[in-house]
Symmetry: C2
Subunit: 373 residues, 2 copies
Amino acid sequence: MKRIITLLAAALIAAGSISAQELANFRGGSQVKSPEMQDGKVTFRLNANYATVVNLSASWIEGAIPMVKGDKGVWEVTVDLPAAEIYTYNFVVDGVAVNDPQNYFVQRDGTRYLNMIIAPGERSENYSEADQRGTVSYKWYDSKILGINRRVTVYTPYGYEKNPKAKYPVLYLLHGAGGDEEAWSSMGRAAQILDNLIQKGEAKPMIVVMPNGNPNQQAAQTLGLPTSNLDFRNDPSLANAYVRSLCEEIVPFIEKEYRVIAKPESRAIAGLSMGGGHTITASNLYPAMFDYICPLSAAGSATPEQVAALKKAGVKLYFLACGTSDFLYEGSVKLDQTLTEQGLDHIFYQSEGGHTWANWRLYLNTFAPKLFK
Amino acid sequence: MKRIITLLAAALIAAGSISAQELANFRGGSQVKSPEMQDGKVTFRLNANYATVVNLSASWIEGAIPMVKGDKGVWEVTVDLPAAEIYTYNFVVDGVAVNDPQNYFVQRDGTRYLNMIIAPGERSENYSEADQRGTVSYKWYDSKILGINRRVTVYTPYGYEKNPKAKYPVLYLLHGAGGDEEAWSSMGRAAQILDNLIQKGEAKPMIVVMPNGNPNQQAAQTLGLPTSNLDFRNDPSLANAYVRSLCEEIVPFIEKEYRVIAKPESRAIAGLSMGGGHTITASNLYPAMFDYICPLSAAGSATPEQVAALKKAGVKLYFLACGTSDFLYEGSVKLDQTLTEQGLDHIFYQSEGGHTWANWRLYLNTFAPKLFK
């Protein structure tokens, strides 16, 4: 196949019918292998004959890692493979961030596309593709509350189509500040995690709904859609507009569009950082809507009265998670105390580290098996 | 919102709980605007204080375009805005390709992520988001013929969910060599083109199915799935395996999963380059399956007997398209002659230019209104 492509690329260029830029996928020139994992090490390489300084910037290593130029203009560095997890990296060529053109694995973080590696091991085993995979769909719904048509990512589990009479519980999974409706599927590996857990019989088959939590956005900015002109920060009539849209518009939309068990015991809500705040606000404003509540590294709080209302509503799982070095840790400790004082059975799951996707993947992988049981 | 994000980023970094790399979406430092369109010009800017040479590589301009360094380390160049179309570009910093970190608009071409601009005008007006948008889903089907579980992209038109009894015609839309099941939705803007045409009443509401045409691939390599070990090039029992899987597995799968009019008059097939070859092969092997056949810049041919079989089957539209400077143009001229000699009514749509996505978007925008009428 590679040979055919090379021949075709040569023919295309020779015929002058196509510019070299449009041939990105026909990768010519001197090929290097990057990254290359071997014997507990990982080697990164970049072809950059005219660069003065090339560094590796790696999410698991503090500071810049100098790369060394070989005799064919290929820069190289080998580092220890870190503990099992997903990590991101890029090269820095004369001060400018550059992706690894040899690495297919990329995640989007806002405007940046960062290369990924998955260091193998128990912790990351659910982050690669399972054999049985669900469907990921990008749908649109009209929000009257926010005044815009908005995109939502929906995961339906393997078997959804083959079991046309089955009804499913739903997890609403919310992103943080700077994220959008693709954050959990790109950086969070939500589809892979659910696929693996469901295939192993560890989690119930469920639908996962990942909306866009920025009330002024129609969708990820990658689509180039204009944002809303409403003043969500200052107009009091728009207070909690996104959470209201979630509970009064998105939940009914999903329950109409999909085969869903439309009851509190089959609804879960979880979110990270700002989305953890949305999770807490949703449970405060709509205490009887979700029986499973999972704020992760959350920016939010609940009063004793609000927690009492949740207890009265019969919440089945309250899974509070935070990294012990997270800058929001104290807020989680305080919420844990309020939950304890009000006698609401809950889990306070504390992990090492801070405000990172490594933790949020871990939390999803940990609480998803506890849902709807 | 931007202010909140900046404050949050500062808090996160101050707390030491997160590395700068994980804050890609919290874009700090000196911001530049790029690209900036104004008065028929477009300006590109890149912050690169330590670079020696920075060029712009633009799909609509031959050769490298030198950028000039300003006093704050920001490199800049202004060029004329080209005629209405989608164009791609990147920066080249000391010989290494770099994306524009300020531009959200990105398309994936194999392993490369290229920034896009849409030059406005009549030709590109269907390439931006319409007000009424369909759903794009990534589904999986089991292929016995290819021995792997494979991903397929499916577009369902606006209104599909709201009209639960409506049945729809289906366009099977195939990519070229080096592409995958995301090529038509990323580079081809297929969802935007169909959304706009359907909203304007110019095309019939239809489902569009975009499979992966590389028989050894389960899905786009961005997912990291292993490829098949079967020898598709040399094993004679695997001849035309992908086209057989398309017609004997994907078509039945779609007709079971979706509300589809499962008749030849409601099936269309179109494809570019290698996918144009697949289109011709499918119509040769299964002459009674598709009433609408659209080979685009196609790498393929049909014998007089095969064309006669299509005529006998009652093909309703044969839309053959090619750029006059395409390296495959002579093959299209020859096919046009065979179609004429056999008396098969057809359109030979010739455009300027060659083997480019600009042409393939134009062709889709041109033939989609002719389908199923």
